[in-house]
Symmetry: C2
C-alpha cells in the first residue's frame, strides 16, 4: 500500500492503470523473470494462481491426477470430465507429512498421468524439503505433468535454502513435465488484485498463449508484478518476510501449549488445529467470530477432514497473533469449564 499510494495514487496515476489495457502476458513475464530467476519464456502470467491451475488441469492433464488429502479443492474440482482424480491420504497420526517412499510406491500402483504437490500443503501446512521435492521430481519424470504449488513457499524456512525463498522453479529447465504454480495473494495480501504465475516448459507457455490469455492481467496486477521484480522492493520485503516467519513460529509455539488443541507443525502462514476437547469446529468458529471478531476457517468441507474437528487459523501481525491466542484460550477455557460443570 505504501508503494501504491506513493507511486500511483498521490501522483494521480491511478487512472492510467485503470484506463489502459495491461501489457500482454509475455511482456509481464519479461518484467517478472529477473525476480524469480527463470527465463521469461517459461513464465505464464495468471489472473491469480487459480487461472494457472485451471489452465494446467484443462490442457496438460489427460488421465488420472493424483491429489494428496487434505488439499486445496480446486485441484480436483477443476478437473474436466476426462480426468479422474485419485487421492493419497495424508495421516493425522503422521502430522499429515508425506512419506516419499510410500508415496512413490502408491504412484507406481495408481499410474496417474499427473501428480499435484502443494508445498507447504494447504490446509495442513506440512512441508517437503527441497531435497525431497527434487527427489520426487526426478523419480516422476515419466509422468505427463508434475504440478508443484508453491503458493505458500515464502513462509517456509528450508535449511538448504538459507534465508532465500526456496523454490524448485529452476528445475523446469531440465524437467519439461514440471509446472510450478505460485500465488502472490498470500505473501503480499493482495487477493483482490489477482496475481499469480506458473513456471513451465517454454513450449507449454507457447501452447497456452497460442489460443488465449492475451490480456488476462489487469492494470494493478501489472503494477504489482513490476513492483515485485524491483530490487528496492525485494530489499524492503526480505526483512518483513523474516519478521513474519519469526512471529508465526512464536504463534505456533504458544498455540501448541493451549490445552484442548493439537497443532500440526506448519511452514505456511496458517496452522491446522485439531480440537481435542470435544468442542466442534463449528462451535469454535462461531464463538471466535461472535465473541471475539476473529475469523478462522472450519475444514468440514475439506475431503479427509470432514469429521468436524479441524480448523485452519492464519497468522497475522505479532499484535494480532496475541489477540488470537487470547481469544482461543478464552473459548477453549470456557468450554472445558462448561465441560467440568456439566
Amino acid at each position: 500500500m505504501d508503494h501504491l499510494v506513493r507511486e500511483v495514487i498521490t501522483p494521480g496515476k491511478l487512472r492510467d492503470w485503470l484506463e489502459y489495457y495491461p501489457s500482454q502476458n509475455r511482456a509481464i513475464a519479461q518484467q517478472l523473470a529477473p525476480a524469480i530467476q527463470v527465463p521469461a519464456e517459461q513464465i505464464f502470467i495468471g489472473n491469480g494462481a487459480i487461472e494457472v491451475i485451471q489452465a494446467i488441469l484443462h490442457q496438460f492433464v489427460h488421465g488420472r491426477i493424483a491429489v494428496n488429502l487434505p488439499t486445496f479443492s480446486s485441484y480436483y474440482e477443476f478437473a474436466t470430465p476426462g480426468v479422474e482424480p485419485v487421492f493419497y491420504q495424508l495421516e493425522a497420526a503422521q502430522d499429515f507429512s508425506l512419506n516419499v517412499d510410500d508415496y512413490l510406491a502408491w504412484v507406481e500402483r495408481q499410474q496417474p498421468a499427473a501428480v499435484v504437490l502443494i508445498n507447504p500443503n494447504n490446509p495442513s501446512g506440512t512441508y517437503l524439503s527441497i531435497a525431497d521435492v527434487t527427489r520426487l521430481i526426478q523419480s516422476l519424470r515419466h509422468l505427463e505433468s508434475i504440478i508443484i504449488d508453491e503458493s505458500f513457499i515464502h513462509f517456509a524456512a528450508d535449511p538448504d535454502a538459507d534465508e532465500s525463498i526456496p523454490s524448485v522453479a529452476k528445475l523446469v529447465a531440465d524437467h519439461p513435465n514440471l509446472v510450478v504454480v505460485k500465488s502472490l495473494s498470500k505473501d503480499f495480501g493482495i487477493a483482490g488484485i489477482r496475481a499469480g504465475y506458473g513456471v513451465m516448459a517454454a513450449e507449454r507457455v507457447s501452447r497456452l498463449l497460442q489460443h488465449g490469455y492475451l490480456w488476462n492481467s489487469s492494470g494493478l496486477a501489472e503494477y504489482f508484478f513490476r513492483l515485485y521484480a524491483r530490487p528496492d522492493f525485494q530489499a524492503a520485503y526480505a526483512p518483513v518476510r523474516q519478521r513474519y516467519r519469526q512471529d508465526f513460529a512464536a504463534f505456533q509455539t504458544v498455540l501448541a501449549r493451549i490445552p484442548g488443541l493439537q497443532v500440526f507443525p506448519s511452514q505456511a502462514n496458517f496452522v491446522l488445529l485439531k480440537l481435542t476437547s470435544g468442542l466442534s469446529a463449528d462451535e469454535f468458529f462461531t464463538q471466535l467470530l461472535t465473541d471475539h471478531g476473529i475469523y478462522v476457517r472450519t475444514c468440514r468441507d475439506k475431503r479427509g477432514l470432514e469429521n468436524g474437528e479441524y480448523v485452519r487459523v492464519a497468522g497475522r501481525t505479532a499484535e494480532e497473533n496475541t489477540a488470537i491466542l487470547s481469544a482461543v484460550q478464552a473459548v477453549l477455557g470456557n468450554h472445558s469449564g462448561r465441560g467440568l460443570a456439566g
Copy 2:
C-alpha cells in the same frame, strides 16, 4: 473515477478491495443482473470480454466457425486446433455492411457450427439493427452457437431501441445457442480493470463454472460491476452516453468532409477511414503521432484490410475530437501539398 475517489479512495477503503478475495462468479452475476435485465443464472462474469470469448470458443464451438472480415482477430486466433475458421468478406464498396440474405445463403453453403457477429462491428463500425440481428438469430437456431459481440453497442443508436441501450441479450431465454458478449472497457474507459460478461443459457454458465472461473474477477472489477448496476450510476451515465454519441456523430460528419479520406459510417466509438490520396496508413499514423501526439490504429494487420490504406480512429471528448480533426486536416493537407509540388 469520481465514484472511485469518493467511495473508495478518499474513505480509505482501497486496501479492502485489493486485500480480500473478490466475490465468486455467481455472486457478481447476481449484482449485475438487474442492470442488464436478464436472469443472473444466464450471466458469466469474465476477466474482460476476452476471457468470455476464449471460454466460448474453447467450450461451445466444435467444427467450423464463421467470422466476418474485417473483424476482431481473437475470434479466429483463439480457435483451438479442432476448430476451423471460415471467413465472410464484408466489402468496402458496400460500406462493410452485412447483407442478411446473402450472409444466410453463405452460411447455408458453408455449414459452420458457429457464427460470430460483432455489432457494431470492429473495426468497421457497421451496425446491424435489432430487427436484422433478431432475424439472423431466428434463422440460425440450428447452429451450435451464435456469438453476438455487443462490446460497442452502447455507442449505437437503434431506431427501434429509442434512447435505451440496444441488446439482444434477452433473446437468450428462447435461444439456447445464443451467446451475447459484452466488454465494459470501451464505454467506461476501464480496459485496465478487466470487466466483461457473457449472457448465455444457464446450462452453459453452469458448465463453465463447474470446472473453473471461480475467482476470475478482481476487487476493482467487482466494485465496478456493482457500481454499474446502481440506479444512481445508470442515471448519471445516460446523459453522458447521449452526449458522447452526439459528439461522435458530429466528429464523423466533419471527418467525412476532409479531402483524402473515405469515412465508413460507424455506430461504434471509432471510425474506419480509407486513405484515398496515396498517403499510406503507416505514414498517416507516424505523422499524427510524432507531429500531433495522436494515436490511431493502422489496420494493416487486420485480415481483409492488409493493403495499408485503412486506419481506425477513436472518438474522444468534443474538445479532443476538434484537435484530432485539425491534426488529420494538417497531415492530409501537407500530403496533398507535397503531392502537387512533387
